[in-house]
Amino acid sequence: MAKYLLKRIFYLFLTLFLIASITFFLMKLMPGTPLNNQAKLSPQQIKIIYEHYGLNKPVWQQYISYIVDAAHGNFGLSYQFSDQPVSYLISSRIGPSLQLGAQAIIVGVFFGIIVGSLSAIRKNTWIDGASTFISILGISIPSFVLAILLQYYLGLKLQWFPIADWGGFSYTVLPTLALAASPFAETSRFVRTEMVDVLGSDYIELAKAKGLSRTGIVWHHALRNSLIPLVTVIGPLAAAIMTGSMVVENIFSVPGIGEQFVKSILVNDYPTIMGVTMLYSALLCAILLLTDIVYGIIDPRIRISGNEG
């Protein structure tokens, strides 16, 4: 197990290194520079600015210093907000994003499990039909459309929650709902499929033959067996939430990473883009590793044999 873990962590850093390198060279290919909109500057000024951002050195030197800095969590200075370190930009904005993301995952997965299991237990009834339809809606309606609708109807019209901005918990409700739709739908579909599979398995038949009641079967056997594999989709769900956060944070004016990312894209703020890219990748890698470990712990089949994973 320890060996496996070490190997995985090594691969994690290798992956991050590769991503850092690729993004660096991609950015070098980009047409834009911090001076994009300031073509009228004198050569002298340009030279000063280049020195300021370290762009005057040969590319390989820039690369090495970038990688070394990145390893220390330093992604240089933002072009957009002059002289603000990217790491400061990110760290001051990560709180709201993490909170929204965590809330959305918890809400989405929790209700997804409930709806998905109900759907499987009452397979081919109207309950199943209704929850399948809701899940399809959740997967099909883009987060930005949902966010706008929520903002307009629950925020503006009904005034249940603040329309935008960031303050107390009530400010998080609408963005959380908008973000939770996709994990909810994915979870409920996944749980339904798993549970239908499990309910048709031999060991459930044996549990029936033992004389367990319907609820006993679901509670003692079906639920655990269908929820364990759910851990494996947490990673993809997190990635989906990162995607969603870019527009949802924008729509609700949440001062988070996603909103920052979109702003940076629109103004070619490459250091920030690279910084956020690295942050997102590191987060996703960490989540994937973590879910693998958790999966190994809660599934007895993997726990004991310990190999692969």
């Binding site: 060991y203 029936k208 033959a209 033992k210 004389g211 067996n225 007895p300």
Partner: protein, 375 residues
Amino acid sequence: MENADENILEVKNLTIDFHTYAGTVKAIRDVSFHLKKGETLAIVGESGSGKTVTTKTIMGLLANNAEVVEGTVKYHGKNVLEMSEKELENMRGKDIAEIFQDPMTSLDPTMRIGRQIAEPLQIHKGYSREKANKQALEMLKLVGITNAEERINDYPHQFSGGMRQRIVIAIALVCYPEILIADEPTTALDVTIQAQILDLMKELQEKISTSIIFITHDLGVVAGMADRVAVMYAGKIVEYGTVDEIFYNPQHPYTWGLLNSMPTLDTRKGKLESIPGTPPDLLDPPTGDPFAARNPYAMKIDEQKEPPFFKVSDTHYAATWLLHPDAPHVDPPDAIKHRQEVYAERLKKGTINLGHIHSTGKTSFGADNDDAIGE
């Protein structure tokens, strides 16, 4: 208990349809049999002949698309088919238990085996977890798991197939059920393990005096296990009798075919016989004897009318027109003839102690008596 001769389980005229998208599958047609205390009844047939559906009916575990068209399944006189879900739950695992074909998939992979064995005790006897675990341990020892104390907290995947089937047996027998249904319990196992499991079942049957319904497609397994045998074909029972009667004095051509396709020590030809053709489509069963198309002895009547049961002995009935008094005498395959000769010899010597026998060919007509499996 009370009367040793009492039928603890009586299945009468059971007819079950399955409604599928392709149409109605007539899975079980007019099946009747009974089970006495402590005996082992083997139900033999090809896959798809309705063996498993029969057992599912007894357990009250039929699929949603199944419809019981006719018939009763009486356990101690109470019709299982009319029981409430609650009553069924009380019966399952306590009075009638079942073990399945594939031990690799019939245990919950995420639950410790001790808990799985203890579960029925907690449900049916209201034992505390501790008490149930203790008894589970006893049961685990009884089914021959070595180091039971250590292994009781292991998970299913840590056991081999044979060991898992022992665990499944432990689960089934932990409440000392009156009837154990074993649905092809050895099919998925290696041959050497098969024998061990069969021995274990016989041993336990004596220890806890349970009756067994043994479902199999393998006649070879039946010989050592069963007291009586029912042969099923295309959703019907075609012949039933004591194990000696079925093995040494078979009357139905299908039974002949089954016995003939069984490898024996004196299979010298180097080639196993097989029954030509395939079982009929139960979506649209043929009129007459469903076996007619594959029956080398088929007569015109076979294609027109389903044969009723003809009595061979008090315990032995077969549904084939060959037993009709007007039917011509046919020569069974050599191997079967040989078997019948052995049977006649043993009859003379008196090593067969079951019922008096009518001479072959001259059989009386199957009037229903207490023992009869319907017609």
